[in-house]
């Protein structure tokens, strides 16, 4: 079977600096696939390349067998890819639930005419979208914030809100960029639980994360980056025993 996300010989140079160099790997559908590595290893750059925010200098990315070279981020979203950000991207000019309902954008096709006259079909769809968004907020654990302005929410709640927004798009694959950053131990445990729940639904999860306990416990496979290159790839057990990884990253 073909992999859901396949990366071949990926290269991204900023000026003379290769942020990502010759990276290849494949993520099977249904896996939790983590990317780890020291700061500046190119993890976020890799995510930005996969989600179409950066254009690769060289190499190829395939989503479900289709090359993503000419696709904009919104077109990748149409094909079932969604993500969260290390530097959270929340619309602070909206309420919490509106942010999640924004995630339903692709499911809510409405014409300008229906919109301007607020016809019953639009009202019905909006009510359904709102219900679904409220469920998702409950699911990720920020259900108490429904109509709170996003700008008034705490950091931890916004992180969960971002995940709810990504899930609202009914993604096939969700990319989480450092979801545990800035969270305390209790919140991290809740996050681990949440990622498991998402994976159990059959959604493929790609994860960039520094919290090794979280990553090792949850991942099916890992990719270790160092200075933009692949240092190792394999199951958590293989990675733990890889001498290169121990030397370069785990501080052996």
């Amino acid at each position: 079977m073909t992999a859901l996300v396949e990366v071949k010989g990926l290269d991204k140079a900023f000026g003379g600096v290769h942020a990502v160099e010759g990276v290849s790997f494949a993520v099977e559908a249904g896996q939790v696939y983590s990317v780890i590595g020291p700061n500046g290893a190119g993890k976020t750059t890799l995510f930005n390349l996969i989600t179409g925010l950066y254009i690769p200098t060289k190499g190829e990315i395939r989503l479900n067998g289709e090359s993503t070279a000419k696709l904009e981020p919104n077109q990748l979203a149409e094909r079932g890819m969604c993500r969260t950000f290390q530097q959270m991207q929340i619309c602070m000019n909206m309420t919490a639930i509106e942010n999640v309902m924004l995630g339903r954008h692709l499911q809510l096709k409405s014409t300008l005419f229906t919109t301007l006259f607020r016809l019953p079909s639009l009202r019905r769809n909006e009510a359904a979208a709102r219900k679904r968004a409220a469920e998702l907020m409950e699911y990720v654990g920020c259900g108490e914030y429904l109509d709170t302005e996003a700008s008034a929410m705490s950091y931890g709640a916004l992180k969960r809100l971002e995940i709810a927004r990504a899930l609202a798009a009914d993604p096939k694959v969700i990319l989480l960029d450092e979801p545990a950053a800035g969270l305390n131990a209790v919140e991290t445990a809740a996050l681990e639980e949440l990622i498991r729940k998402i994976a159990d639904q059959g959604i493929t999860v790609m994860l960039v994360e520094h919290d090794m306990k979280l990553v090792m416990g949850i991942s099916d496979r890992l990719l270790v980056l160092n200075y933009g290159r692949v240092l190792a790839e394999g199951t958590p057990e293989e990675i733990r025993q890889n001498p290169d990884v121990i030397a370069a990253y785990l501080g052996g």
Binding site: T51, L53, E72, P73, N74, L76, A77, E78, C82, R83, F85, Q89, I90, C91, M92, N93, M94, E98, M101, L102, G103, R104, H105, L106, L108, K109, S110, L112, T115, L116, F117, R118, L122, N125, E126, A127, A129, R130, L146, D147, R165, A166, A168, A169
Partner: protein, 335 residues
């Protein structure tokens, strides 16, 4: 919860409608009516501009250009070619919408100051064309525009009409029309904002990156809102031309564009009723300060600066916040 939401949507409309119904009690002469009708037409234009500036976070310093195009299209179609008003307004709106789309597609790739400069240039180019094409537009001397006719029913400011047996003057009839148009403009804007399209527009302001990764085609929505706000301006420009009975290229001028933007910023970016208040205040101000007429542009500049520094949310949202704080305190004291 949704119920409360619906009620709050309608509440603003109801208050506006009540004000528009009660207002004539205080209007004692045709000049007052004239002022209020102009206010309503400009307020409706600014409600459209606010969709672009306040909700989608894009700037246009050339919006009077579209207002002017709408005014001249109507003036030329009805005056020179003898069209009836309604088709003139509709075809004018479609034409201006297409122009806005063609112009907007490339320039909306720009951000911040660059977008300001590009829209400024669009406004200037339109004003220059209106000034120079004497054969068609009458040039700087302007051109007369026939009275509005609604399906063969002529609405002149000098006429007199009867409404349900009530004798009303031409300006009073115009007042009713302008009120209905303003309410419709607000209703459409409200419906647009609280919809999937509206959320996509607001997300462009909130975070373009977030919008794009959940599937919003940000370029498309920027163009769409640019076109919609241009259509608002075009229709209102057409009505303005009919109401004034005479137009000059000043309707497309830079000063007019700045006035529109100042109304949005002063009233409250992203607040539909706020920008109406902004339009009212800035339309009244020159009446109050008639002695300082030559300083008008300076005044607008000053208001724009002071608002951005001291009331970045704008007049109405700030007032609402102050009142609700007062109110909250009082309620707490009584408890």
């Amino acid at each position: 919860m949704l119920n409360r939401f619906m009620q709050s949507r309608l509440r603003g409309m109801v208050i506006l409608a009540l004000i528009l119904i009660i207002l004539p009690v205080f209007l004692s002469n045709p000049f007052h009516y004239e002022l209020v009708i102009q206010m309503a037409i400009i307020a409706a234009t600014v409600v459209g501009l606010n969709l672009l500036v306040g909700f989608a976070g894009q700037i246009s310093l050339g919006h009077a250009g579209f207002f002017g195009l709408g005014a001249y299209f109507t003036g030329i179609a009805t005056g020179t070619y003898g069209w009836s008003s309604v088709p003139a307004l509709v075809v004018g709106a479609i034409t201006v919408g297409i122009i806005a789309w063609v112009v907007g597609r490339p320039i909306l790739r720009l951000k911040g100051h660059y977008l300001s400069m590009a829209t400024l240039a669009v406004g200037f180019i339109i004003a220059i064309i209106l000034n120079n094409e004497r054969a068609i537009t009458g040039g700087p001397d302007g051109m007369p525009v026939p009275a509005l006719d609604l399906f063969g029913w002529e609405l002149s400011t000098f006429g007199s009409y009867s409404l349900f047996g009530l004798e009303i003057s031409g300006v009073q009839a115009w007042y009713i029309l302008a009120s209905v148009v303003l309410l419709l403009a607000v209703w459409f804007a409200q419906n647009l904002i609280e919809s999937p399209i509206g959320r996509a527009l607001r997300s462009v302001k909130g975070s373009e990156v977030a919008a794009s990764v959940v599937g919003v085609d940000t370029a498309k929505y920027k163009s769409l809102v640019f076109v919609i706000s241009a259509i608002y301006a075009s229709v209102m420009g057409g009505l303005y031309a009919h109401f004034q009975g005479f137009i000059t290229p000043a309707v497309a001028s830079f000063e007019f564009s700045i006035l529109f933007i100042t109304m949005v910023v002063l009233g409250g970016m992203g607040s539909t009723f706020g920008v109406i208040l902004g339009a009212v205040v800035l339309k009244l101000l020159p009446q109050v300060l008639a002695d300082f007429q030559e300083l008008e542009t300076v005044m607008f500049g000053l208001i724009l600066m002071l608002t951005m520094i001291f009331m970045p949310k704008g007049l109405l949202p700030t007032l609402v916040a102050v009142v609700s704080r007062r109110f909250g305190k009082k309620a707490g004291g009584e408890a």
